[in-house]
């Protein structure tokens, strides 16, 4: 095998998207994945494609990413299960409805379609929501995908563009010019660490920790909900970044199943389910959608989001190691932001005009930790 120009370490959705972006630009790319493409945090995630505005950089990255997915949509196979179901952010009270109005204005300024929904209209959009809610914000361009299938397609597309995809090959060490794997050493002109929550194991000092989440999926109940439904409440009561927290978040899946989230906690890589937190999460969900309580839950699982102190991913060059690039730390938004991340990383690597201001994503930035948000 000839020496690649770039090695991407990590075959999650972010690594797969980066490999594809660099291969599209004509680079010789090798993607190295410890297990199989899309099998880590990517597989554990809900798969929402959502524009988020907790900070201007996050808004820019999510909006760019969603637009890139829209461009890609005609090429995606059915297995990706892309459903432009829209996001319905639910306001419990008047304060939250005010926040929804501000959000709608900000989205409008950025040409992202969004409309405020009043309390009377809410049951028409989502009949399962409990009565008496104040209203919400409808973002019709959002949607959901099945993340492992999207990651796999991105990697397959990279392969079609000439990239080598090496699965089942754990990386033991890397620098800016080479990668050591269980099978030997690979040299390249540059290396991208896209190993998600495992990125700091390979590049010491990256401010990423695993933030664990639980999800539950039900049996098939087609039509139970029509939009991805989330609570706006986090705007008012943002959780501390260290405590365990839950938020209401349900999704209709193409299979007719209902996916229920979400929870956040910092417990390292512990794989023992936290039943108390799982219960809180489900009670929160059933509080908003009472009929959820009667659906049959067939499976729960946990995943580890790569969390950063300021809730923004690390995208760009390492300031300490020449040739090393970072694309990691996407917390709960990696499915949404993979394509935008890959585009920005490609811009920076190839010297193109950046699609976004790269400064907020600089890997070695220092900043005040922000509150955790739910997505």
């Amino acid at each position: 095998m000839s020496r690649p120009d770039a090695i991407v370490v990590g075959g999650g959705i972010v690594g797969a998207a980066c490999a594809r972006e660099l291969a599209m630009a004509g680079l010789g790319v090798t993607l190295v994945e410890a297990e199989f493409v899309g099998g880590g945090a990517t597989a554990a995630g809900m798969g929402h494609i959502v524009v988020m505005d907790d900070s201007p950089p996050q808004f820019g990255l999510t909006a760019l990413s969603r637009a890139l997915l829209d461009e890609l949509a005609p090429a995606l196979p059915a297995a990706v299960e892309r459903d432009r179901c829209g996001t319905l952010w639910v306001a419990e009270d008047e304060d939250q409805l005010v926040a929804a109005r501000l959000k709608a204005a900000a989205y409008g300024d950025a040409k992202v379609e969004a409309s405020v929904v009043d309390g009377a209209e809410l049951p028409r959009l989502e009949p399962g929501l409990r009565p008496g809610l104040a209203g919400g914000l409808l973002v019709p361009g959002d949607g959901v995908v099945y993340p492992p299938a999207l990651a796999r397609w991105l990697a397959e597309d990279a392969r079609r563009l000439g990239a080598a995809i090496r699965e089942g090959e754990p990386v033991t060490a890397l620098d800016g010019r080479s990668v050591m794997t269980a099978r030997g050493r690979i040299d390249a002109a540059l290396v991208v660490n896209a190993a998600g929550a495992a990125a700091p194991i390979l590049t010491h000092g990256l401010p990423i920790v695993p933030r664990r989440g639980h999800l539950v999926i039900t049996d098939r109940h087609p039509g139970f909900c029509r939009h991805q439904v989330l609570e706006l409440g986090y705007l008012k009561s943002a959780h501390s970044s260290t405590g365990a927290s839950v938020a209401f978040n349900v999704q209709p899946r193409m299979t007719g199943q209902v996916l229920i989230g979400s929870s956040r906690e910092l417990v390292g890589w512990n794989r023992t389910p936290n039943r108390a937190l799982l219960g809180r999460m489900l009670r929160r969900a059933a509080d908003f959608m009472p009929a959820l309580a009667g659906l049959s839950a067939i499976r729960s699982w946990i995943g580890f989001r790569p969390a950063t102190p300021d809730n923004l991913p690390l995208i760009g060059p390492s300031s300490r190691i020449d040739g090393l690039w970072i694309a990691a730390g996407h917390e709960g938004l990696g499915i949404t932001t993979a394509l935008g991340t890959a585009r920005l990383l490609g811009d920076l690597i190839l010297g193109r005009a950046p699609s976004l201001d790269p400064v907020p994503f600089t890997p070695d930035r220092s900043g005040e930790p922000a509150a955790a948000v739910h997505a």
Binding site: E35, F36, G38, G39, A43, A79, P148, A149, R152, V216, T218, D219, T255, I260, T272, P273, N274, R275, A276, L277, L278, G279, R280, L282, R283, A285, A286, L292, A293, G294, L295, S296, A297, I298, R299, S300, W301
Partner: protein, 423 residues
């Protein structure tokens, strides 16, 4: 059972087949408060499933009578869904959760039937061997129906026998294992006269039918309301007409609850000592989960497990005999590699999610198959397709995920609530 949502017991037993029933009787004999839980409405498990005790073999009837006189608390129609902490079992019944607090737990979850996909296996009137047996016990009529029984293992004989007794015409019993291995296995049963007598009785039950070793079903096609079954012995291929097909490739230990409890598992079986103790303190296991060895072995293991779980110092060789028997069974009825070639790319592997074999890449792991194709993600959570894929693609078992059986969202929300702070 009472309406209380928390039940206290000394010994909790999950699974009311021969092992669980014997364990309950033995634990009660030691004076322990004992609770026996099963998903069926009546005790008996698969092998002693019945509507009327008169249907049962003498030993089954005797044990079920002993159980009803034992004073063990019997909780029917309930599924064990979680073991959130040592000493705590969460069960679900009619959509409601209850907590069982135990000092000892006996896992007697039995086995599930292994179904292997071949073209036509999902057609109407093609059943699992155990599935058809269960329908028969539930009162389904097979009178004057032609049946081909196929697959592998000692279960084919009693099922063919009971179908014949119910008036079915057994066209053929096709055992995939070669005759030499099957007869060697049967010969070894001389050391076990009870089993030998049983086999002879079963064989007599359908003596006009052929029992062909080294023979297996290649495919099944519908012909009007009948089925055309293509069979082979590896040399020649022929077809036969039938109304029903019952096919099963042996039993697979159900070790999901044991896995959830953290018990160590070796070669797909729960490891136990001479008191049926697992690697987890206060957790015992008896019957098929320790190795497929049949009802008599399950009873012997259940007696030991129940007594030991109740605190008696009781040891015996039942588990090691069962392991030896299971190993002999595995050798005698080892699945021939030809069976891997039966499904074509369009053959459905996972019925819940409609996944065909062609969608599954070579060399994929169990989890990869699940995530890429959804095989095993449906309501049965892989109970059918995982054992098939373990054989077809030599995959390992994927991790157990909660809940063990589907349960209402509201139930999971509430049971966790009660244990808030525990975890």
């Amino acid at each position: 059972m009472s309406d209380a949502s928390v039940l206290e017991t000394d010994v909790a037993i999950v699974g009311a087949g021969p092992a669980g029933i014997a364990a309950a009787v033995a634990a009660r004999a030691e004076g322990a408060r004992t609770l026996l839980l099963d998903s069926a409405p009546r005790p008996g498990g698969q092998i002693w499933r019945h509507r009327d005790p008169a249907q049962l073999p003498a030993s089954g009837r005797r044990w079920i009578e002993r159980l009803s006189g034992s004073g063990a608390e019997w909780i029917h129609s309930a599924n064990a869904i979680d073991l959130p902490a040592p000493g705590v079992l969460i069960a679900e019944r009619e959509g409601r959760a209850f907590t069982i607090r135990w000092r000892s737990l006996v896992i007697a979850t039995g086995a599930t039937e292994r179904l292997l996909p071949f073209p036509g296996w999902t057609l109407p009137n093609v059943f699992g061997v155990g599935g058809l047996q269960a329908l028969l016990k539930a009162g389904a009529s097979v009178a004057a129906r032609r049946v081909i029984v196929a697959g592998s293992g000692p279960l084919l004989l009693p099922v063919a026998s009971s179908l014949a007794a119910a008036g079915a015409t057994i066209r053929l019993v096709a055992e995939q294992a070669p005759a030499l291995r099957v007869y060697r296995f049967a010969g070894a049963l001389w050391s076990d006269p009870v089993r030998l007598a049983q086999a002879a009785r079963y064989r007599a039950g359908f003596r006009r039918a052929r029992y062909r070793c080294g023979t297996w079903i290649v495919r099944v096609d519908p012909v009007g309301s009948a089925l055309s079954v293509t069979l082979t012995d590896g040399r020649r291929i022929w077809t036969d007409r039938t109304d029903l097909v019952a096919v099963g490739y042996g039993l697979v230990p159900d070790v999901r609850l044991a896995r959830l409890a953290g018990c160590s598992i070796a070669s797909g079986c729960v490891a136990v000592d001479r008191s049926q103790r697992t690697s987890v303190p206060s957790v015992f296991c008896a019957g098929e989960p320790t190795g497929i060895a049949g009802a008599d072995s399950a009873v012997a293991q259940g007696r030991l497990a129940g007594a030991a779980a109740a605190g008696a110092r009781r040891t015996g060789g039942a588990a090691s005999r069962a392991r030896r028997f299971a190993a002999r069974l595995d050798r005698a009825f080892a699945l021939r590699p030809d069976l891997r070639a039966l499904p074509d790319p369009a053959t459905i592997v996972c019925r819940c999610e409609d996944v065909s074999l062609g969608e599954i890449g070579e060399g994929w792991s169990a989890r990869q198959i699940k995530l890429y194709t959804r095989a095993g993600m449906g309501p049965c959570q892989g109970r059918v397709c995982q054992p098939a894929l373990e054989f077809l693609r030599r995959t390992g078992a994927d991790a157990v995920r909660l809940p063990l059986f589907p349960a209402p969202v509201g139930l999971l929300a509430d049971h966790a609530n009660r244990d808030e702070g525990d975890s």
